[in-house]
């Protein structure tokens, strides 16, 4: 079982679309049993799957252990794909974790019983660097980090790399990739080239900025559920292939 966090310090970079689409592809193409955990209190992932962003007892209940995560899971409309929905109380997840012993180990411990049931768990993370992020890093095997090719992206990536190094998170494979790319923009192309030169381990797949992806909010479905072929879905499929190779490396 592999745990992948879809994470970036910045918001609005395509984390949720990545989590939803990769989960859908992995469950349908590879027949993986997949769980997505919507950790963002905005509940966008839950919205895409038409599932109420509500968790019985809120974050306190599962952080304290009075409710097991398994009992909070909802089946999505897709075979082999389940969701742990968001809850508005997740805005205080940091506080809930802080009140617990070994807070950074907590998520890892909570997810351990689900290892038997799922082949892949994807964590859709809120955009910040906090105690929750630390707990996510401890629990995950891979950090899949979408970045829009802007001047700030390089800085953010450097910050993240430094953080992982300083905190000796050696178990964590960082997989940065470009998201919401507009190939017509010269600046996007130049920044992508620069970052790839400095960080050759940046994934090759590039997710375009496209209305297809934006339509997910209207359709309330993963891309693959309403379109068979297209630039965006093909890009996510390529991305999944690269992630899958990294999982098996």
């Amino acid at each position: 079982m592999t745990i992948i966090a879809s994470y970036n310090i910045k918001g609005g970079v395509g984390k949720t679309a990545t989590a939803v689409n990769l989960a859908h592809i992995a469950s349908q193409k590879n027949h993986f049993k997949v769980l997505v955990w919507d950790l963002d209190p905005q509940g966008a992932t839950s919205y895409y799957f038409r599932i109420k962003p509500k968790v019985k007892g809120g974050s306190k209940a599962f952080i304290s252990g009075t409710r097991a995560l398994d009992g909070l899971i909802k089946a999505t409309d897709y075979e082999n794909l389940d969701l742990l929905p968001a809850d508005f109380s997740f805005r205080n997840l940091d506080l809930a974790l802080d009140g617990h012993k070994k807070p950074t180990q907590r998520l890892k411990k909570l997810l351990a019983p689900l290892k038997k049931e799922y082949d892949l768990i994807i964590l859709d993370c809120p955009p910040n660097i906090s105690l929750l992020s630390e707990a996510i890093f401890e629990a995950s095997d891979m950090l899949l980090s979408p970045m829009i090719p802007t001047t700030l992206s390089l800085r953010t990536l450097e910050q993240l790399k430094k953080y992982l190094k300083d905190n000796k998170l050696n178990h964590l494979t960082l997989l940065p990739f470009f998201s919401m790319v507009d190939r017509r923009k010269k600046m996007h192309n130049e920044i992508m080239r620069d970052i790839t030169d400095i960080y050759p381990d940046t994934l090759k797949s590039v997710i375009p900025y496209a209305s297809d992806v934006e339509r997910m909010g209207w359709e309330r479905q993963p891309l693959g559920a309403y379109m068979g072929r297209g630039r965006s879905i093909d890009a996510y499929r390529n991305l999944w292939n690269e992630v899958w190779l990294a999982m098996n490396a």
Binding site: R50, I51, K52, K74, D82
Partner: protein
């Protein structure tokens, strides 16, 4: 979600159209698929899947075909796989859950079709107000049988499932399915699963006259021969011939071991016929065994030598085809058919008339005690006479005697307390195993040397001959190991507790004393 039935049999007069109309009145319903297909149920000849509480279906429609394993008791699907055609043997299945489950239940038995049922399958989603699926249903609308509904709950949406179950049971009076469509279909064809077992399971009563009991034993064995005959001729799987031969051997053992119970002069011609039947079936069976062992033979060799054995497989296959043709010729001959028909006629007519012979006046229990006790003493004396220097023939003779004892114990097992007789049969089996291994390794060694010679004559490569030689050496070694085990196994068999138990059950003099 509380455990309960999720599989329901629809009332007799409920059509699919009516069901969907009723359902649409109470929930938001989405018909995801409506597919006309043919469902074919499969099992082995001896209903091994049914015995293991599994149902194997092949669902074929214009769009697709799949193979499903269903839990017979709970009605839910255990595993499914897209396939174009049904495999005939487990070995032909793709790697996966279905293969894993079938291997442990079917071993080398073929999967054969039992019945075909045309039906329309409706896949239904129940949606909430956000158009999210909260429950799935499947309606199997059979052309000629009652329809079945399967409730498929979704994780985290227990209330939707509970509500539907309550509607189906409390309001619409659907009954949890106690049978399956397979049971219904077999019933409509006056068939029943598990109507065949390769085990000898004839129930006798102790005071039945011995001659009458023997006739019933022979009739039971004749039934087994008849049931397996077409499978042998059609070469469906190797177990048909195996069971056929076991029934023939048992009949021969009866004819030889239960002398003077029926008039020996009347049985002589049949003894000759069954000896012939044993003989004409042996080549095909031997080749079947070599072919079944082929994968094991390969694994004996180092990986780089395994491919060199392929010409051996080809040779076996060619020989098996020729032997099978010859066997079919024999089993469709007038001699075979007339002899078997006469045997049946003789047994049936003898049942109706009182036959008097020397041993015929005994009850079957008296006969069983007498014969088993005598044969046991023979096993013990032959076994005790074997020492480290005894020739291989001594072990072979003991193997044959032990087999005769085993058949007698199985014929008459129903006359004794099941736990007592089972224990003694088990200890005998362990002795037979080591004797059987010793014999098998020796015969295989001789045969493989002969096959090697044939391969050499057929211009096989040096590598193939080397691989064959390696197998022979391995078998020689194994035979040596089996020989070494004999003394321990025989001591276990003749240990005092078993002796006491044998004496208590079968020895007439001891019973008078007690």
């Amino acid at each position: 979600m509380s455990a309960g039935s999720l599989y329901f049999k629809c009332p007799d007069n409920l059509t699919a159209k009516k069901f969907l109309k009723k359902l649409a009145k109470i929930v938001t319903l989405e018909i995801v698929a409506q597919e006309y297909m043919c469902k074919t149920f499969y099992d082995s000849f001896d209903s091994l899947l049914y015995t293991h509480n599994m149902i194997c279906e092949f669902n074929h429609s214009q769009k697709q075909s799949n193979m499903c394993l269903i839990d017979r008791k709970l009605g839910h699907m255990i595993a499914t796989e897209m396939v174009e055609d049904m495999p005939r043997f487990v070995g032909q299945c793709a790697e996966g859950r279905i293969k894993k489950l079938l291997v442990s239940s079917l071993a080398m038995r073929a999967i054969i079709p039992l019945c075909h049922l045309p039906l329309t399958v409706y896949r239904l989603n129940i949606l909430n107000k956000d158009q999210k699926i909260v429950l799935r249903l499947q309606l199997d609308a059979y052309d000629d049988l009652n329809h079945y509904v399967r409730v498929l709950p979704l994780k985290g949406y227990d209330k939707a499932a509970e509500k539907m179950l309550s509607v189906l049971q409390a309001q619409w009076h659907f009954k949890p399915a106690k049978s399956t469509a397979l049971d219904d279909a077999l019933k409509s064809m006056n068939q029943a699963p598990q109507s065949y077992s390769s085990k000898f399971q004839l129930k006798l009563t102790p005071d039945t006259p011995a001659n009458e009991a023997c006739l019933h034993i022979y009739l039971y064995l004749l039934k087994v021969i008849n049931k397996n005959e077409s499978g042998v001729i059609e070469d469906i799987d190797t177990e048909f011939l195996h069971d056929f031969r076991v029934a023939v051997r048992r009949t021969r053992a009866g004819l030889n071991q239960l002398k003077n119970v029926l008039p020996d002069n009347e049985l002589a011609q049949y003894a000759e016929f069954f000896a012939w039947l044993g003989q004409i079936t042996s080549t095909t069976r031997d080749l079947d065994v070599y072919l079944l062992s082929y994968q094991d033979y390969k694994l004996i060799l180092p990986a780089e030598m395994q491919a060199d054995l392929e010409p051996f497989y080809t040779l076996l296959k060619q020989k098996q085809i020729i032997a099978q043709d010859s066997l079919v010729e024999h089993l469709t001959s007038d001699y075979y058919q007339d002899s078997l028909a006469n045997w049946q006629k003789y047994l049936n007519s003898s049942v109706r008339k009182a036959i008097k012979t020397d041993m015929g006046g005994l009850t079957v229990k008296e006969l069983a005690d007498k014969r088993i006790w005598k044969m046991l003493k023979r096993v013990l004396s032959e076994g005790a006479a074997i020492n480290h220097d005894s020739p291989a023939e001594a072990l072979h003779d003991l193997r044959k005697t032990a087999k005769k004892l085993r058949y007698l114990m199985e014929f008459f097992a129903s006359l004794y307390t099941p736990s007592d007789i089972k224990l003694l049969i088990k200890s005998l089996k362990q002795l037979q195993k080591v004797l059987g291994d010793f014999q098998d390794y020796e015969i295989q060694e001789i045969s493989l040397k002969q096959f090697k010679k044939e391969l050499k004559d057929n211009q096989a490569t040096e590598n193939t001959l080397l691989a064959m030689e390696k197998l022979v050496t391995h078998l020689e070694h194994q035979r040596g190991l089996a020989r070494e085990k004999f003394a321990d196994r025989f001591n276990l068999f003749q240990k005092i507790e078993h002796q006491a138990q044998f004496q208590l059950l079968f020895a007439p003099a001891q019973k008078v004393k007690s």
